[in-house]
Symmetry: C2
Subunit: 198 residues, 2 copies
DNA sequence: AGTGCTATTGAGCATTGCTCAACAAGACGC
DNA sequence: GCGTCTTGTTGAGCAATGCTCAATAGCACT
């Protein structure tokens, strides 16, 4: 019987979930399997997470936090440089761990990533957090939020679909395309239909 | 005991799943509940779907097929007109049944939508099918497929995030923006990085 | 009416999600 | 070194669940 700090144990369980939910969907991963992997009893898992669904959501949220953290630009960076960094880091991350991303982040719909400490029960999605990041750090207007939010979806799809074996050069080109695309999208008017209706 | 055609029964079960999986995730919807809703025994459900996961996937695929079918342009339409129709129908559909779409299509990652009859085990996602639709019907080059595919993700996000209570006029403006956005994205070069690396 | 086909049932089993009272590992005081 | 307190941890136990399979019952056709 190994006794861990609640924090250590929690982290261990989340880490195991991060591995187990990649190949199998929730309903095919049993609490027993997770507990066995951790070397603990079933009961303990329910001491840390009230329900299996709650555990799964916590794992997914952890995955989202991880991607968000790794996509952050350098502390000094702002404007176009920051945008290039965020875009590159986001894309590279997805490509490096494609299956992981698809299973735990992309395939989970609007999964909440609670902001860490204290802030009043605020929760949101990875796309929303990345959009905030771009708006705050790269100098985009708050009014452009819908465009930025959906642009994240665009970049995400390009990263997922681009085959992971492509060379680094292609990644650079993709990053360049995506940063330019954000400007192009932002400049695309939202007012009049281009094809007048009959 | 009510006896139905296998086809009718299958349709009924898929229809029930289409309703049940909107509010609750897979692991919280029991086969018992589905069977009770259909007025049949648990066993029968396993006669139609070998496993619960298979049933869920079939339901999700059905949802995808539905959206794909409703997004098709008119038979005669081509080019820009077809693009406008596909975009509008896709957006309107998502907005009209937002929760449904998010739960069953968006929140399921790369769910396969098998092409109906005969075709050799080909299966793909809703985004891929919509991309094919745009390429074939709206006159886009096959080389633009990655852009079109990710553009679908962009449109999808705009539709999901735009509040459902907005007026019809705003939808028209959004459709116009999205169709223009596809051109803008297509014209955004993928070759050189805009911000040269140090 | 009889016969064949098959959609459907229902008992049954192993596993699963979840609860809870009891246990034991470490920290602290003495 | 001993006792005590706190709390991370266990394991039995239960109802519900996913799934199997032999038996049944509805329907079409002769």
């Amino acid at each position: 019987m190994v006794r861990l700090t609640p924090d250590e144990r929690r982290r261990q369980l989340l880490g195991i979930g991060l591995r187990m939910f990649v190949d199998k969907p929730v309903q095919e991963v049993s609490i027993d399997a997770v507990a066995a992997e951790a070397g603990i009893s079933r009961g303990l898992l329910f001491h840390y997470f009230p329900t299996k669904t709650a555990y799964h959501q916590a794992v997914v949220a952890a995955a989202g936090r991880r991607f968000l953290r790794n996509a952050r630009p350098d502390d000094g960076a702002t404007g176009e440089v920051a945008l290039e960094q965020v875009t590159r880091r986001f894309i590279e991350q997805i490509r490096r761990r494609r299956a992981f991303y698809v299973a735990l982040v992309f395939g989970q719909g609007p999964v909440s990533i609670p902001t860490p400490e204290g802030e009043e029960e605020f929760a949101t999605t990875l796309r929303a957090r990345l959009a905030d990041l771009v708006i705050e750090r790269c100098g985009y207007a708050a009014a452009a939020r819908p465009v930025v939010h959906a642009w994240v979806a665009y970049v995400e799809d390009r990263a997922i679909e681009s085959s992971a074996d492509a060379s680094n050069v292609e990644v650079t080109a993709l990053v360049a395309h995506c940063t330019r695309a954000l400007e192009a999208l932002q400049e695309t008017p939202t007012q009049r239909p281009r094809v007048p209706l009959p």
